[in-house]
Amino acid sequence: MKYILPTLGTISAVALFAFSSTPQTAIAVEKPTHSETFQQLELFADVLSRVRNDYVVTVDDSELIEDAINGMLQSLDPHSSYVNAEAFRDLQVNTSGEYGGLGMEVTQEDGVVKVVSPIDDTPAKRAGVLSGDYITEIDGESIIGMSLSEAVDKMRGKPGQPITITVIREDEDPLEITMVREVIKRQVVKHEVKDGIGYLRISQFNEKTDESLNAAVKALKSEMGKIPGIILDLRGNPGGLLDQSIKVSSAFLDGGEVVSTRGRNADDTDRYNADRGELLKNVPVVILIDGASASASEIVAGAVQDRGRGLIIGMTSFGKGSVQSVIPLRGGRDGALRLTTQRYYTPSGRSIQGTGISPDIAVSYAQDDGKGNKRMRESDLPNSIRNQVEEELNKDAEDTTAIIDYPPEDYEVEDDYQLQKAIDILKGGTYAKLLASTPG
């Protein structure tokens, strides 16, 4: 008796389909799409039932379907994925507070876990894990093909517990890195007075960023009195929450657009504006970015650049300009769908996706290696979403970064050439002139 129900459902649903598409000419256009979809779903069901009947061992249907879902989503882009119910619960817990682990932001592409960025002052950073590293093994066990949440679970553990990960880096042999897990304290905003200039470093955009930024600016004001110039360091910052990027931008912008997100349809466009009452009004600003500055970092840099509010110094950013919506499925009981639904656009209408933000002044941290210090970027990821006007923008990007200012040969890496350049510009009186010459 139990099984009659779905069969009845089938008949009525098929009937609904037939009726809805035949009589009206208005829907006639969509008919081919319907039948194609129908055929594709039929194919899917056909294959599943054959696997179910003929595979050499009994297969768990649920697992099979879950693998199909993952296969489908991973083919879309590196950021779309299915979050199972358990991981969805974790996700909700995770965006707030501290966790034990290694201290890196990771993503996944085609079944391989990739480091977006190690977080400052954590085991990962100290052990030399680099942005762009691929993690292939944890404690000697391959994690290729494992879901991101499973892999992250494996990396987490009790503080004090050692772990060995195998990483693959471009042009190098697999490398084993051993480190000890610890509770990751995320100091999101650091401040310092450097050579008479206010220095702010934001390591990521979580819900504490805005609050910490206000506190840091307050502290700088009390230490320095009037702030003659500010450096906002977003290097290595993998991003985070969108609303935090708006709030951070509001420290430099008095209202007006920061970013817009645009989806497939025109009515999917959302515009985000800065709050009124600029925290650092009239203070000259230099933002430092590099190839590991992604997402929310790129929004801030893009807005400040487009609005002519400050100078961007460093190297072209990562180019992660897509928005993922977390769509709970059946109220979260079935987990959630993390789906790329929109792209970010800077106030002047540039899409960040793939191309990133090009600095106004290209300054390299490392010495010239003859490759233009090329790093792995979003556009290098397999299946990365293309920028719609990518080619022209690429040309632009190449033009502006064609002349890169490299540190002299005997320059010590610890002296941070990019930061030094920023200080020089803010103190040397060239800031205003340089700012005026930028297109923003």
Binding site: Q40, V112, I168, G263, I385
Partner: protein, 437 residues
Amino acid sequence: MRSLTRVIGLALLVSVFSLSSPNLTAKPKPTKNAEALQKLELFADIFARVRSEYVDEVSDKDLIDKALNGALETLDPHSHYVPPTDFKESQKSALREYGGLGIEVTLDKGLVLVNYVNEDGPAYRAGLKKGDYIVAVEGENILGKTLNDAVEGMRGLAGDAITVTVRTDDNDRDISIVREVIRSRAIRHRVEDGMGYVFLETFNNDRLTRDLERALNALKSEIGGKVPGLIIDLRSNRGGLLDQSVSVSGLFLDGGEVLSSRGRKPEDTERYNAKPGQWDADMPIVVLTNSSSASAAEIVAGALQDRGRAIVMGRRSFGKGSVQSVIPLSNNNGALRLTTARYYTPSGKSIQGRGILPDKLVALRPDTGEIVERFREDKLPNALGNKDVSDYEEQYEDIDYPPEDWPLTEDYQISKAVELLKSPEYKTLLSQYNTRP
């Protein structure tokens, strides 16, 4: 529109699933099925949302293709969906031959590793070596791609050139290779220290058995009479046609079982027997295997070992003991290449994941103090397992290594095979193995 698609999708999937298991009511497993139905609903839900909400428009066909391969590739490394265009191409060859470059590749730590280079192929002539990594095809980085996607880029028509970026010991270089149809000599023979020696490079040749018979006759005339002992070298033989493995085994067995393939249900079992009559029943035989001896090669080694016809020497074989069926799908939807059975040796041991363990473990290279890890089937991600979980690993202390000053030009395994064929130990060993349980 969205909810409509969803309802249709769901209803359809539900109907196919309930129809495909007619004995559902006879033997109900309500919880399992309920869970599967729920997952199907989830799939339809996600499919519909991706169609309507993804940042760009995506084709249904691409989505389903990727979904299918996502599901199939996690089953095992040999099951996958073959889209209609590829299907026609693959119908031509019994074994998937990669692009006519004459190489076989595998995924290792996210990179594509060359694990076999055919000496008669264009890749070999272009300087590609076993152990090289392929990092890009036509300038496109393949790091992080699935093996199928990576290999896809290497396929093409004979005569077309392809550029691959090869990494050897950290150095990248571009190699241009013209794809060609590879016709290899499947058999080489010679007299080795008074003994007959045949090297079978592949089973992917429908004239193999005939050529082997010719080689045996040639050996007979070169030796000038009875062949006193035979070495069958199956090292690095990646397998090929099943019927050739049966007929090759049949040359040395007087009827009886060579192998069986067994699926999930008892009625799926198929037995393959040797033809009656054999080539010189008294001639001692040593079969050489290594970790790259796979599939059909393992069938031959397993049959001759189990039936007490030969001593297997060398290293544990690859362990590819699964059978793939190519199932054409309706509506010109291509085909499904699905693992449907496992191979079993005559004594009822499954080859899958375990391979054939030689009677005498002999190494090719001198001792390094530990067993050097070899790449085998059980190292593949999602490899299909074996019901027999007893220990099958080589034991370090059982391995006969060549002395340190053994010249590189001399093949230690062949010399040990000759030695065994000439020694009375052969008979002792064989009788020992014949009485094993």
